[in-house]
Symmetry: C2
Subunit: 153 residues, 2 copies
Protein backbone atom coordinates (compact mmCIF):
# COMPACT_ATOMS: atom_id res chain seq x y z
CA UNK A 1 0.00 0.00 0.00
CA UNK A 2 2.69 2.48 -1.09
CA UNK A 3 2.26 6.18 -1.77
CA UNK A 4 0.83 6.72 -5.26
CA UNK A 5 2.73 8.72 -7.85
CA UNK A 6 0.77 11.95 -7.52
CA UNK A 7 0.80 14.43 -10.39
CA UNK A 8 3.11 17.41 -10.00
CA UNK A 9 1.59 20.87 -9.82
CA UNK A 10 1.90 21.57 -13.55
CA UNK A 11 0.48 18.22 -14.59
CA UNK A 12 -2.36 18.71 -12.19
CA UNK A 13 -3.14 22.16 -13.61
CA UNK A 14 -3.10 20.87 -17.15
CA UNK A 15 -5.22 17.84 -16.40
CA UNK A 16 -7.77 19.90 -14.53
CA UNK A 17 -7.92 22.52 -17.25
CA UNK A 18 -8.73 19.74 -19.66
CA UNK A 19 -11.37 18.09 -17.50
CA UNK A 20 -13.09 21.37 -16.87
CA UNK A 21 -12.76 22.75 -20.36
CA UNK A 22 -13.90 19.63 -22.11
CA UNK A 23 -16.91 19.26 -19.83
CA UNK A 24 -17.96 22.83 -20.42
CA UNK A 25 -17.29 22.60 -24.12
CA UNK A 26 -19.37 19.45 -24.58
CA UNK A 27 -22.09 21.02 -22.52
CA UNK A 28 -22.06 24.18 -24.59
CA UNK A 29 -22.24 22.26 -27.86
CA UNK A 30 -25.09 20.18 -26.55
CA UNK A 31 -27.13 23.19 -25.53
CA UNK A 32 -26.37 24.97 -28.75
CA UNK A 33 -27.49 22.05 -30.91
CA UNK A 34 -30.57 21.52 -28.80
CA UNK A 35 -31.60 25.15 -28.86
CA UNK A 36 -31.07 25.69 -32.57
CA UNK A 37 -31.93 22.30 -34.03
CA UNK A 38 -33.55 20.15 -31.37
CA UNK A 39 -30.70 17.65 -31.44
CA UNK A 40 -28.71 16.41 -28.48
CA UNK A 41 -24.97 15.95 -28.90
CA UNK A 42 -25.20 12.16 -29.07
CA UNK A 43 -27.99 12.42 -31.63
CA UNK A 44 -25.93 14.79 -33.72
CA UNK A 45 -22.95 12.47 -33.52
CA UNK A 46 -25.05 9.60 -34.82
CA UNK A 47 -26.30 11.61 -37.77
CA UNK A 48 -22.76 12.70 -38.62
CA UNK A 49 -21.42 9.17 -38.64
CA UNK A 50 -24.29 7.91 -40.73
CA UNK A 51 -23.87 10.73 -43.23
CA UNK A 52 -20.28 9.68 -43.81
CA UNK A 53 -20.98 5.98 -44.21
CA UNK A 54 -21.46 4.40 -47.65
CA UNK A 55 -25.17 4.54 -48.43
CA UNK A 56 -25.57 6.69 -45.33
CA UNK A 57 -26.15 3.43 -43.54
CA UNK A 58 -24.36 1.42 -40.87
CA UNK A 59 -24.88 -1.66 -38.78
CA UNK A 60 -25.92 -0.78 -35.25
CA UNK A 61 -22.81 -2.23 -33.65
CA UNK A 62 -20.54 -0.34 -36.02
CA UNK A 63 -22.43 2.86 -35.45
CA UNK A 64 -22.17 2.41 -31.70
CA UNK A 65 -18.44 2.00 -32.06
CA UNK A 66 -18.03 5.10 -34.25
CA UNK A 67 -20.22 7.25 -32.06
CA UNK A 68 -18.64 6.07 -28.78
CA UNK A 69 -21.97 4.94 -27.38
CA UNK A 70 -23.12 1.77 -25.71
CA UNK A 71 -25.35 -0.43 -27.82
CA UNK A 72 -28.17 -0.02 -25.40
CA UNK A 73 -27.96 3.73 -25.55
CA UNK A 74 -27.73 3.66 -29.32
CA UNK A 75 -30.87 1.54 -29.48
CA UNK A 76 -32.79 4.06 -27.41
CA UNK A 77 -31.45 7.06 -29.26
CA UNK A 78 -32.16 5.49 -32.64
CA UNK A 79 -35.72 4.80 -31.58
CA UNK A 80 -36.11 8.48 -30.84
CA UNK A 81 -34.43 9.56 -34.06
CA UNK A 82 -36.62 7.13 -35.95
CA UNK A 83 -39.76 8.58 -34.47
CA UNK A 84 -38.57 12.01 -35.57
CA UNK A 85 -38.14 10.59 -39.05
CA UNK A 86 -34.42 11.31 -39.23
CA UNK A 87 -33.25 7.70 -39.26
CA UNK A 88 -34.75 4.48 -40.59
CA UNK A 89 -34.02 0.96 -39.44
CA UNK A 90 -33.63 -1.73 -42.09
CA UNK A 91 -32.95 -5.39 -41.55
CA UNK A 92 -29.81 -6.97 -42.89
CA UNK A 93 -30.22 -9.58 -45.64
CA UNK A 94 -27.06 -11.58 -44.85
CA UNK A 95 -27.29 -11.69 -41.11
CA UNK A 96 -30.82 -11.98 -39.85
CA UNK A 97 -29.80 -10.68 -36.43
CA UNK A 98 -28.40 -7.53 -37.98
CA UNK A 99 -30.03 -4.14 -38.31
CA UNK A 100 -28.95 -1.21 -40.43
CA UNK A 101 -29.58 2.36 -39.41
CA UNK A 102 -29.95 4.61 -42.42
CA UNK A 103 -30.05 8.39 -42.54
CA UNK A 104 -33.24 9.54 -44.23
CA UNK A 105 -33.34 12.48 -46.63
CA UNK A 106 -35.00 14.52 -43.95
CA UNK A 107 -32.31 13.45 -41.51
CA UNK A 108 -29.68 14.57 -43.95
CA UNK A 109 -31.36 17.93 -44.40
CA UNK A 110 -31.59 18.47 -40.65
CA UNK A 111 -27.96 17.47 -40.23
CA UNK A 112 -26.87 19.79 -42.99
CA UNK A 113 -28.51 22.77 -41.34
CA UNK A 114 -27.21 21.80 -37.91
CA UNK A 115 -23.65 21.28 -39.12
CA UNK A 116 -23.51 24.76 -40.59
CA UNK A 117 -24.25 26.32 -37.24
CA UNK A 118 -22.23 23.80 -35.33
CA UNK A 119 -19.00 24.51 -37.15
CA UNK A 120 -19.32 28.18 -36.31
CA UNK A 121 -19.70 27.36 -32.64
CA UNK A 122 -16.75 25.01 -32.75
CA UNK A 123 -14.66 27.77 -34.27
CA UNK A 124 -15.94 30.38 -31.91
CA UNK A 125 -15.26 28.47 -28.71
CA UNK A 126 -12.44 26.17 -29.68
CA UNK A 127 -10.56 26.54 -32.95
CA UNK A 128 -10.31 30.32 -32.78
CA UNK A 129 -9.10 30.48 -29.19
CA UNK A 130 -6.48 27.75 -29.50
CA UNK A 131 -3.06 28.29 -31.02
CA UNK A 132 -2.71 26.23 -34.22
CA UNK A 133 0.32 24.40 -32.83
CA UNK A 134 -1.59 23.55 -29.70
CA UNK A 135 -4.46 22.25 -31.80
CA UNK A 136 -2.09 19.85 -33.53
CA UNK A 137 -0.79 18.81 -30.12
CA UNK A 138 -4.35 18.07 -29.05
CA UNK A 139 -4.88 15.98 -32.14
CA UNK A 140 -1.74 13.96 -31.46
CA UNK A 141 -2.48 13.57 -27.77
CA UNK A 142 -6.05 12.35 -28.07
CA UNK A 143 -5.23 10.06 -30.92
CA UNK A 144 -2.76 8.45 -28.53
CA UNK A 145 -5.38 8.36 -25.77
CA UNK A 146 -7.85 6.68 -28.10
CA UNK A 147 -5.28 4.11 -29.09
CA UNK A 148 -4.48 3.43 -25.46
CA UNK A 149 -8.11 2.97 -24.52
CA UNK A 150 -8.79 0.70 -27.49
CA UNK A 151 -5.80 -1.45 -26.69
CA UNK A 152 -7.01 -1.93 -23.14
CA UNK A 153 -9.79 -4.26 -24.21
Amino acid sequence: MSEPRWLDAAQQRDWRAFVDGSLRLHDLMDRDLKAKHGLSAPEYEILVRLSEAPGRSLRMAELAEHASQSRSRLSHTCTRLESKGLVARESCPNDKRGVFARLTDEGFAVLDRAARDHVETVRDFFIDVVDPDDLRAIGRAFTAVNTRIMSSR
Copy 2:
Protein backbone atom coordinates in the same frame (compact mmCIF):
# COMPACT_ATOMS: atom_id res chain seq x y z
CA MET B 1 -27.15 32.47 -46.08
CA SER B 2 -23.50 32.15 -47.13
CA GLU B 3 -21.35 29.05 -47.06
CA PRO B 4 -19.97 28.48 -43.55
CA ARG B 5 -16.23 28.41 -42.92
CA TRP B 6 -15.81 24.63 -42.73
CA LEU B 7 -12.79 23.21 -40.91
CA ASP B 8 -9.94 22.02 -43.10
CA ALA B 9 -9.02 18.33 -43.06
CA ALA B 10 -6.36 18.66 -40.36
CA GLN B 11 -8.52 20.78 -38.08
CA GLN B 12 -11.31 18.33 -38.53
CA ARG B 13 -9.08 15.37 -37.61
CA ASP B 14 -7.80 17.13 -34.52
CA TRP B 15 -11.22 18.24 -33.36
CA ARG B 16 -12.68 14.79 -33.85
CA ALA B 17 -9.79 13.12 -32.07
CA PHE B 18 -10.49 15.39 -29.14
CA VAL B 19 -14.24 14.81 -29.09
CA ASP B 20 -13.80 11.08 -29.27
CA GLY B 21 -10.88 10.83 -26.91
CA SER B 22 -12.36 13.04 -24.26
CA LEU B 23 -15.67 11.22 -24.34
CA ARG B 24 -14.01 7.86 -23.97
CA LEU B 25 -11.66 9.14 -21.32
CA HIS B 26 -14.44 10.60 -19.18
CA ASP B 27 -16.36 7.41 -19.62
CA LEU B 28 -13.43 5.30 -18.57
CA MET B 29 -12.80 7.38 -15.45
CA ASP B 30 -16.44 7.19 -14.52
CA ARG B 31 -16.56 3.42 -14.79
CA ASP B 32 -13.29 3.06 -12.95
CA LEU B 33 -14.42 5.20 -10.01
CA LYS B 34 -17.79 3.49 -9.91
CA ALA B 35 -16.34 0.00 -9.97
CA LYS B 36 -13.65 0.59 -7.36
CA HIS B 37 -15.26 3.13 -5.05
CA GLY B 38 -18.94 3.42 -5.88
CA LEU B 39 -18.55 7.05 -6.91
CA SER B 40 -19.69 8.57 -10.19
CA ALA B 41 -17.43 11.13 -11.86
CA PRO B 42 -19.62 14.09 -10.86
CA GLU B 43 -19.74 12.82 -7.29
CA TYR B 44 -15.98 12.47 -7.22
CA GLU B 45 -15.57 15.98 -8.60
CA ILE B 46 -17.73 17.37 -5.82
CA LEU B 47 -15.72 15.63 -3.14
CA VAL B 48 -12.46 16.90 -4.64
CA ARG B 49 -13.61 20.51 -4.70
CA LEU B 50 -14.90 20.33 -1.17
CA SER B 51 -11.67 18.78 0.07
CA GLU B 52 -9.74 21.75 -1.27
CA ALA B 53 -12.01 24.42 0.15
CA PRO B 54 -11.27 26.11 3.49
CA GLY B 55 -13.03 24.11 6.18
CA ARG B 56 -13.79 21.51 3.49
CA SER B 57 -16.96 23.46 3.00
CA LEU B 58 -18.49 25.56 0.21
CA ARG B 59 -21.70 27.34 -0.59
CA MET B 60 -23.83 25.37 -3.02
CA ALA B 61 -23.63 27.95 -5.77
CA GLU B 62 -19.88 28.15 -5.51
CA LEU B 63 -19.55 24.40 -5.51
CA ALA B 64 -21.74 24.15 -8.58
CA GLU B 65 -19.48 26.63 -10.31
CA HIS B 66 -16.27 24.80 -9.36
CA ALA B 67 -17.64 21.42 -10.31
CA SER B 68 -19.18 22.60 -13.61
CA GLN B 69 -22.61 21.36 -12.65
CA SER B 70 -26.04 22.92 -12.74
CA ARG B 71 -27.46 23.88 -9.37
CA SER B 72 -30.30 21.49 -9.76
CA ARG B 73 -27.99 18.61 -10.49
CA LEU B 74 -25.78 19.56 -7.58
CA SER B 75 -28.77 19.57 -5.27
CA HIS B 76 -29.76 16.05 -6.32
CA THR B 77 -26.23 14.73 -6.19
CA CYS B 78 -25.60 16.26 -2.77
CA THR B 79 -28.74 14.64 -1.46
CA ARG B 80 -27.36 11.29 -2.56
CA LEU B 81 -23.91 12.01 -1.13
CA GLU B 82 -25.53 13.12 2.09
CA SER B 83 -27.48 9.92 2.40
CA LYS B 84 -24.22 8.03 1.95
CA GLY B 85 -22.78 10.11 4.77
CA LEU B 86 -20.02 11.65 2.68
CA VAL B 87 -21.31 15.22 2.72
CA ALA B 88 -23.28 17.24 5.25
CA ARG B 89 -25.45 20.27 4.60
CA GLU B 90 -25.24 23.20 7.01
CA SER B 91 -27.17 26.42 6.89
CA CYS B 92 -25.38 29.72 6.48
CA PRO B 93 -25.55 32.17 9.42
CA ASN B 94 -25.18 35.39 7.38
CA ASP B 95 -27.48 34.62 4.53
CA LYS B 96 -30.47 32.62 5.62
CA ARG B 97 -31.08 31.42 2.07
CA GLY B 98 -27.59 29.99 1.89
CA VAL B 99 -26.50 26.40 2.41
CA PHE B 100 -23.02 25.05 2.95
CA ALA B 101 -21.97 21.62 1.80
CA ARG B 102 -19.24 20.19 4.00
CA LEU B 103 -17.13 17.10 3.43
CA THR B 104 -17.49 14.72 6.37
CA ASP B 105 -14.56 12.78 7.77
CA GLU B 106 -15.92 9.67 6.17
CA GLY B 107 -16.25 11.56 2.89
CA PHE B 108 -12.66 12.61 3.17
CA ALA B 109 -11.56 9.05 3.84
CA VAL B 110 -13.49 7.73 0.84
CA LEU B 111 -12.07 10.48 -1.36
CA ASP B 112 -8.57 9.76 -0.18
CA ARG B 113 -8.82 6.12 -1.16
CA ALA B 114 -10.49 6.94 -4.47
CA ALA B 115 -7.92 9.59 -5.40
CA ARG B 116 -5.06 7.15 -4.94
CA ASP B 117 -6.53 4.82 -7.52
CA HIS B 118 -7.76 7.60 -9.72
CA VAL B 119 -4.37 9.19 -10.20
CA GLU B 120 -2.98 5.88 -11.40
CA THR B 121 -5.72 5.61 -13.99
CA VAL B 122 -5.16 9.18 -15.11
CA ARG B 123 -1.48 8.41 -15.58
CA ASP B 124 -2.13 5.14 -17.27
CA PHE B 125 -4.57 6.43 -19.87
CA PHE B 126 -3.58 10.06 -20.22
CA ILE B 127 -0.39 11.44 -18.69
CA ASP B 128 1.77 8.51 -19.69
CA VAL B 129 0.61 8.34 -23.29
CA VAL B 130 0.85 12.07 -24.00
CA ASP B 131 4.10 13.84 -24.79
CA PRO B 132 4.95 16.32 -21.99
CA ASP B 133 5.02 19.22 -24.45
CA ASP B 134 1.61 18.21 -25.75
CA LEU B 135 0.32 18.07 -22.21
CA ARG B 136 1.37 21.67 -21.66
CA ALA B 137 -0.30 22.57 -24.94
CA ILE B 138 -3.51 20.97 -23.69
CA GLY B 139 -3.28 22.96 -20.49
CA ARG B 140 -2.87 26.21 -22.39
CA ALA B 141 -5.59 25.40 -24.89
CA PHE B 142 -8.29 24.44 -22.42
CA THR B 143 -7.47 27.30 -20.13
CA ALA B 144 -8.21 29.51 -23.12
CA VAL B 145 -11.39 27.60 -23.87
CA ASN B 146 -12.55 28.02 -20.29
CA THR B 147 -11.86 31.72 -20.42
CA ARG B 148 -13.76 32.03 -23.67
CA ILE B 149 -16.77 30.17 -22.31
CA MET B 150 -16.81 32.21 -19.10
CA SER B 151 -16.64 35.45 -20.99
CA SER B 152 -19.63 34.48 -23.08
CA ARG B 153 -22.02 35.01 -20.19
